[in-house]
């Protein structure tokens, strides 16, 4: 009897521990909304000018820059990462694959501050001297972010391609298809959901990234919609970090910064939900 009570209590306790995540997420939503909701209005969502000294808190330019940076970086890491994954999964010798794969996986989640530091000290002078502009630019942000997302994309899409059964490849080659035809017609369509998921997750981590981007994109006083890849921009995360420590608490400025957080939260939540729908739990959950 006693043992049963104890077992019941343990189960309750474990359920409590499992609910911590729920409590934390709800608290985060509560506090973000509490601090930010009074700043969310028409002018905030559809205003073009972010100019706190004039109490103008329009985030359109910041949001556009965020996606500009995120999508560009993603395009680069897709163009490099997916072919690398194809190479590792279909072409590379087993030993080479193992070496490369494990070193790439080692770098998943490399501290972003180290990447930002590299960008600041190597990339910015390089761009300033060879391409022009002030160095701090969208281009620098693209490069640093694509290096950051590359390990994720390579590792996850390679996993998805490997998960395609070998009999598919054998059958295709037996029918006279070349290796590349096999990749295009069989491997990629079958690994589609895994590859797509890796891309969407790469996108959401690129948009949510703070320090690496902050250090290389320049952050102009009043952001404008960029018209060149050498322009300086502001993204949502960098605006928050730069301005939060001196903002007057309780002012529309501080509330707008939290509201940017709410908007960022919503964007990332949408992207992760899409990823979840696309994957439907097919590949190993790993990111």
């Amino acid at each position: 009897m006693r043992r049963q009570i104890r077992e019941k209590l343990i189960e309750r306790g474990l359920f409590g521990a499992a609910s911590t995540s729920i409590i934390i997420v709800l608290l985060i939503v509560l506090f973000m909304v509490l601090e930010g909701c009074s700043a969310i209005n028409f002018n905030f969502l559809f205003g073009y000018e972010w100019n706190p000294s004039h109490e103008k808190f329009g985030i359109v330019t910041i949001v556009i820059s965020t996606f500009y940076i995120g999508l560009g970086a993603l395009a680069i890491s897709i163009c490099i990462g997916i072919p690398s994954a194809i190479f590792l999964s279909e072409y590379a010798h087993e030993t080479i694959r193992n070496i490369i794969k494990s070193s790439v996986e080692m770098l998943v989640g490399i501290p972003s501050i180290v990447l930002g530091f590299f960008g600041l000290i190597v990339l910015i002078p390089l761009i300033r001297e060879n391409i022009g502009g002030r160095g701090e630019s969208i281009l620098a942000g693209w490069i640093i972010l694509s290096i950051m997302t590359l390990p994720h994309i390579i590792s996850l899409s390679e996993d998805a391609m490997r998960a395609v059964p070998n009999s598919f490849r054998e059958g295709s080659v037996a029918l006279g298809a070349t290796k590349w035809q096999t990749v295009i017609k069989l491997i990629l369509p079958n690994a589609k959901s895994g590859v797509l998921a890796s891309i969407i997750l790469g996108m959401s981590s690129a948009i949510g990234e703070t320090m690496a981007v902050l250090m290389v994109i320049g952050n102009p006083n009043i952001p404008w919609i960029p018209n060149s890849i050498l322009d300086q921009v502001r993204v949502m995360t960098s605006t928050i970090v730069i301005e939060i420590s001196y903002a007057v608490w309780g002012s529309p400025h501080q509330q707008s910064l939290f509201a940017i957080g709410v908007v960022l939260f919503i964007f990332v939540a949408i992207m992760t939900s899409i990823a979840r729908i696309v994957v439907k739990g097919e590949i190993r959950r790993k990111w």
Partner: protein, 285 residues
């Protein structure tokens, strides 16, 4: 047929090229930091405190980072493992479990800057924890909790059912079975998961910047309510504000130490994993 072969060759060359680009891009950063930072790694640099912004060493920063992830693990470790036990061994397959899982996934997707803002509003101001070791460690814990839950869950799930059945058949209660069989067998897997979470927490800057301290503190905290220095924030400060050769060399040194701690944790985790995979002949993430 010739054209097909030619095409195949071109494609192969292209794949070689992209793979080399990705490897070079990734390795060049590591190598650059190692080359420039290596000569800074002296006992003096590692064991003294910083002074006058860009002089001295990074001892409080290294220990501060370890303290932060220590507090973070004190929260996220037990919570993650207990939650994972519930999800694998107890959870009924119903709406409650699905909700639990949904929230774990959601927490995993939240960008770190939002955790930082939340830490500032909730831990620092609402709970009156101040900018301190406790605030920073807990905020980091919130960030990596989903990783520890997921990793422990997969490790426990990988333990064969026959183990549990044997234990139950011997008359052990459910909790005894879990404690002595499932968790024991899954222990290396759980450790791997916790280590990977640790690697993630070590390099996190935005959260620590907003909740734990300004990175340049030359003292170690004597209680959890005091601000604490940390390597990533120190690196951020010294890299963006430094302009002398002293500052740059220290930035390289700090970046190298941070990178080394991160890689050591990751390598250690993968050794444990390989060992475990060999022993149990199971694969898990």
């Amino acid at each position: 047929m010739v054209t097909e072969q030619k095409k195949e060759k071109i494609i192969k060359a292209f794949l070689y090229l992209t793979t080399s680009i990705s490897i070079i891009a990734l390795l060049s950063i590591v190598i650059y930091i190692v080359i420039n930072g290596a000569y800074m790694i002296t006992p003096e640099f590692l064991t003294t405190a910083p002074y006058k912004f860009e002089m001295g060493g990074i001892f409080p920063q290294i220990i501060g980072t370890l303290l932060l992830v220590g507090v973070c693990m004190c929260f996220a470790g037990p919570m993650g493992v207990l939650a994972a036990i519930y999800l694998t061994e107890y959870a009924p397959n119903n709406i409650i479990t699905k909700t639990l899982r949904f929230f774990v996934e959601s927490l995993a997707g939240i960008p770190s800057i939002i955790i930082g803002l939340f830490g500032l509003a909730f831990l620092v101001y609402y709970m009156h924890f101040r900018i301190s070791l406790l605030s920073g460690g807990l905020a980091l814990g919130f960030m990596i909790l989903p990783w520890t839950v997921r990793a422990s869950e997969e490790a426990i799930r990988a333990v064969p059912f026959s183990y549990r059945e044997a234990s139950l058949a011997l008359g052990a209660s459910k909790w005894q079975t879990i404690k002595n069989v499932s968790v024991q067998a899954a222990f290396p897997g759980i450790i791997t998961g916790l280590l990977l979470g640790l690697g993630k927490a070590i390099g996190e800057t935005a959260v620590v910047l907003l909740t734990a301290g300004s990175g340049l503190e030359s003292f170690l905290p004597r209680s959890v309510f005091e601000p604490v220095a940390s390597l990533p924030v120190y690196l951020y400060m010294i890299a963006t504000q430094g302009h002398t050769s002293e500052a740059y060399t220290r930035a390289y040194g700090a970046a190298l130490v941070l990178l080394m701690i991160f890689l050591t944790i990751n390598i250690f985790a993968s050794i444990v994993r390989n060992h475990y995979v060999k022993k149990h002949k199971v694969r898990f993430g």
